[in-house]
Symmetry: C2
Subunit: 548 residues, 2 copies
């Protein structure tokens, strides 16, 4: 007899133990709410029954093609119904969904397809040119399926490429059987998705998600984003980015409606809010700017509460106050591809409502506290693995631990081991712990500027720059300097019709920051951003090198 | 190299895998919302910081007493703060919380203490007499701790018994250390709680819950009961019953407030709703009746939405319509001790709002569909383990499968094996599957009446009886009959001041039911109920035997 009485004859069996997976959530929604609208896409309305049936057909067609456990199915799709179907249909076959960023170039797509050993590619006709090039470069020879979106008119602002596949998505689906017997994962630790990091800081790595984490994210997102029955979710966040922060699975929990969106532009966003009663949307601060800077005739009135969940960068104060005025509730989230998207939430406290605008913005700028489904979040000295004091000042590396941290990097044991050294996931983000337990990012490991031995947070300098009324976007990086080692250089994009001189901007910074932190050089130019709205610091660093 | 690339070098480690447990939820609430009110008890207000600290002190004091993994800590407490503290403090030591039904007699308490090998008993002075008797009968010699509730006045409607323990609860807590290092469970499958079945159908069995199930219930309850930040939960459901359907853990997820209640009476319930802004409460239909039948001067007005989650028995139509009129939203849940409380929810569909009162009540009477955290729910022939047709007619046994089904029965391998035979948990409840996938209970295995070879659902007959305006409560059981095998006998409790004859009642039933289903005998008497408001059919069956 082993252990105590509570361990004896009380083993797992199919009646009391099933692998956690988000797939049972869509199954339930389809059974309970078959007639409710699961997906709105232009003129299309897809019910939950149909969403489920189409996902089953996709799974069946894939299985007939020989796809099964551990196989990779790659997709290069916009925020359209097939992308939602792939999130369920692919794992129903025990295969892994690999979502490609639709802005990638052919070389990197080819790299990913080969690295992932992709067996099937589903590609939207918007991206067929680059995919064709990529397939020519790649070693793998996947089955290629074209998706020809009926809502993508020939007169659309972006050109529709040729068909490059051997079969059309709808025809492929039609070859599947809606009576397909889908599979629970053998183990909740089995992979469900593969997402390559966006490559801001280095070579893309293949982040592997498991069913357990995806299921827990469905619950945690529901709680932290405040989703309830009848939620209407607008797809402004790309679904290829951390699986849309796991919202394709999350919405199934409360049987909410997805509103698809091919291109993130202000008018269709406002139209969706006004016409479909959108309650939630997510995106980088740049999406908020798009909403705010829309021409007046594209804006629409709405009286219901719309929650905007933002991550990728701290929301600037001016954007926050403008969003509040425009009738949006903003929730600030933080996470990484490695944490299934958001794993940290700025939990807003009632007592903060009494602060003035700047005080509230300062609180809102903190990344916050752990998601309920994340068991640990802290700031540590990565060398000693000791926690930094919660003084809001001492910079350390943000560390994560828990069930919504990735399995690891695909075929990259070294990177995986490094990322998990000491039993914590090393985020590469530098931040501080405040006395109240909220973390705040100060920089990324590679973005910190060391000038005369002093650390300068590029975020802090950027914050100061953003307070200048003429500045629309900016990025601060290090420039090599003989005397100081490094000095900050500011890249600045001005608002249309505004002017400002370098001297004026430096003076502005000096009024807010210690002198050693102020940019020595100001470069006026358009700021390069990733598809997810993040400033591409490595590009700025390249430009800074050329300045030296 | 084993398996595919998605399995290689991607193992569990402390950074990406932690045991699921509800304990991290209270830890988070205390850290994020230290100053918010966690518990209201009469004049007391306990913040989340204090709730956490007191739970830690309880854990520390227990650990100093030698309590650790696999030990049992028994509590016989009302819905008071120590009961909430025990739900967290006991598992923090890796021990198991055993909650005693406060209405039990000494013999059965002694049986449970011995069977559970209890090492500590915490007892409220309301129950010290019966506990003293039980301890005299029991073999085990646990440490006994008295809880002397300051809100339990000497002038209370129930007498306060003597102190029987060796230490007072507050003194015991004071001996603990708030800096205690609490333990995550070694495994999420480890036991967290022990609840004996209420014994409606047989010998009490010790149902063992694990951390995994309790954590998942916290998420699922939040979703299905519609809890959000700021929820105020009134404790009308006994916390000893399936750990209060896991709500002591659930509320921590959204940092809601618990409103304690020693005795379930109408006036304090209305006062709590009006004064503390209660948003949610749970209970058997009898609690709804208590609210509805309150004298007018005890009722209070409220304008906010109050959700009443009811289970234990299907809510009668008259009660449902009266609740709606009184301003409550009623959600119908169903579950068993073996399923952590509710595991089935009557998901209300918008399209049903168009039905008339009777039509709506008929829909609401269905137990419904699986909780999101339950992976399987069906109706089967328990012999063949094949599903019954979804025709709303064919009776079978309701079967559960999933992560919110118990580990099993403590030290009762035979009962555990029987309960899990064929990979499904056999509920002992008889029901039908409707075409829309909603289940409806028709009876319990032992309650079905077989008359002339025909099955008669006692619930169906009771439903008909409840439509008689003079009937307050009723129960229908089988009576042996030479000719028919069995015939139904109705036990009927009339409303105060109302009269009705047996003939009249039988005629009423005949107007609604097939004749063979109508009671042949009507007995007027008070209906015996369990502490959780369920009619004790076995008592009625005893009385029916005496009639023969
Ligand atoms: N709320 C936020 N505030 C500030 N920075 C954020 C926020 N949310 C996310 N980030 C930044 O985004 C990073 C996560 O981005 P993501 O995983 O999408 O790709 P990436 O890290 O930019 O790419 P790569 O890892 O290849 O360099 C975080 O590490 C952090 O630096
Ligand atoms: N919504 C409901 N409608 C009808 N019956 C219900 C409902 N909810 C619960 N029940 C009944 O309550 C039972 C679960 O009760 P519980 O586990 O508390 O103890 P018990 O089953 O009465 O006791 P024992 O198992 O010892 O006989 C279910 O099996 C079912 O018969
Ligand atoms: Mg990264
Ligand atoms: Mg039972």
């Amino acid at each position: 007899m082993t252990g105590n009485a509570f361990d004896r004859d009380l083993d797992r069996n199919p009646a009391n133990f099933q692998p956690l997976t988000p797939l049972v959530l869509l199954e339930r929604a389809a059974k309970v709410f078959p007639n409710e609208v699961a997906i709105i896409h232009g003129g299309q309305r897809v019910t939950y029954a149909t969403f489920w049936e189409r996902s089953l057909k996709l799974a069946s067609a894939l299985a007939r093609h020989g796809i099964g456990k551990g196989d990779t199915v790659s997709v290069m799709l916009s925020n359209t119904p097939p992308m939602l179907e792939a999130h369920h249909g692919v794992p129903m076959t025990k295969a892994v969904l690999h979502s490609l960023n639709t802005r990638l170039d052919a070389a990197i797509i080819a790299f990913q397809l080969d690295h992932a050993e992709s067996r099937v590619v589903i590609v939207d006709r918007e991206f067929s040119d680059v995919m064709k090039e990529a397939l020519a470069l790649a070693q793998v020879k996947p089955l290629v399926i074209d998706y020809d979106d009926p809502e993508f008119g020939e007169d659309a602002p972006y050109p529709k490429g040729e068909r490059i596949g051997s079969v059309d998505y709808e025809a492929f689906l039609a070859s599947g059987d809606a009576g397909f017997t889908w599979s629970m994962p053998d183990d909740e630790w089995d992979a469900i998705a593969l997402n390559y990091t966006s490559g801001t800081t280095g070579n893309p790595k293949g982040v592997v998600y498991h069913h357990r984490g995806a299921a827990l994210m469905a619950y945690a997102n529901t709680v932290h984003a405040g989703l309830s029955r009848g939620a209407v979710y607008l797809w402004t966040l790309p679904m290829f980015h951390c699986n849309g922060w796991c919202f394709p699975w999350t919405l199934a929990l409360t049987a909410g409606s997805h509103v698809c969106l091919r291109w993130v532009r202000a008018k269709p966003m406002y139209d969706a809010i006004a016409e479909h009663g959108v309650t939630h949307l997510c995106g980088a601060p740049v999406v908020m700017s798009a909403l705010l800077n829309a021409p007046e005739d594209e804006k629409r009135d709405f009286s219901h509460t719309v929650t905007f969940n933002t991550a990728a960068a701290p929301p600037p104060e001016t954007v926050l106050s403008a969003m509040a005025e425009a009738g949006f509730t903003v929730t600030h989230l933080y996470g990484l591809t490695e944490t299934y998207g958001p794993a940290v939430v700025n939990e807003w406290k009632g007592e903060w409502d009494a602060l003035d605008g700047a005080g509230q913005a300062a609180r809102k700028a903190r990344q916050g506290v752990r998601y309920a489904a994340l068991e640990g979040l802290t700031v540590m000295d990565p060398e000693t693995m000791t926690e930094t004091p919660p003084d809001g000042e001492t910079i350390g590396e943000v560390m994560f631990r828990g069930n919504i941290v990735m399995k690891g990097y695909l075929k990259n044991r070294k990177a995986t081991d490094e990322a998990f050294a000491g039993g914590w996931f090393h985020s590469g983000d530098l931040g501080v712990m405040h006395a109240d337990g909220y973390i705040q990012l100060k920089d990324r490991s590679k973005d910190i500027i060391i000038s005369g031995g002093e650390n300068i947070s590029s975020i802090e300098v950027e914050d100061a720059l953003y307070r200048h009324p003429a500045i629309a976007a900016c990025g601060v990086v290090a420039k090599a300097d003989e005397k100081w080692g490094e000095t900050p250089v500011a890249f600045v994009e001005l608002k249309p019709g505004r002017t400002a001189s370098a001297e004026e901007i430096i003076a502005h910074c000096r009024s807010l920051l210690a002198h050693f932190k102020c940019p020595k050089t100001v470069v006026f130019s358009e700021i390069p951003k990733t598809s997810t709205g993040k400033i591409q610091k490595f590009r700025l660093r390249e430009q800074a090198r050329e300045l030296s």
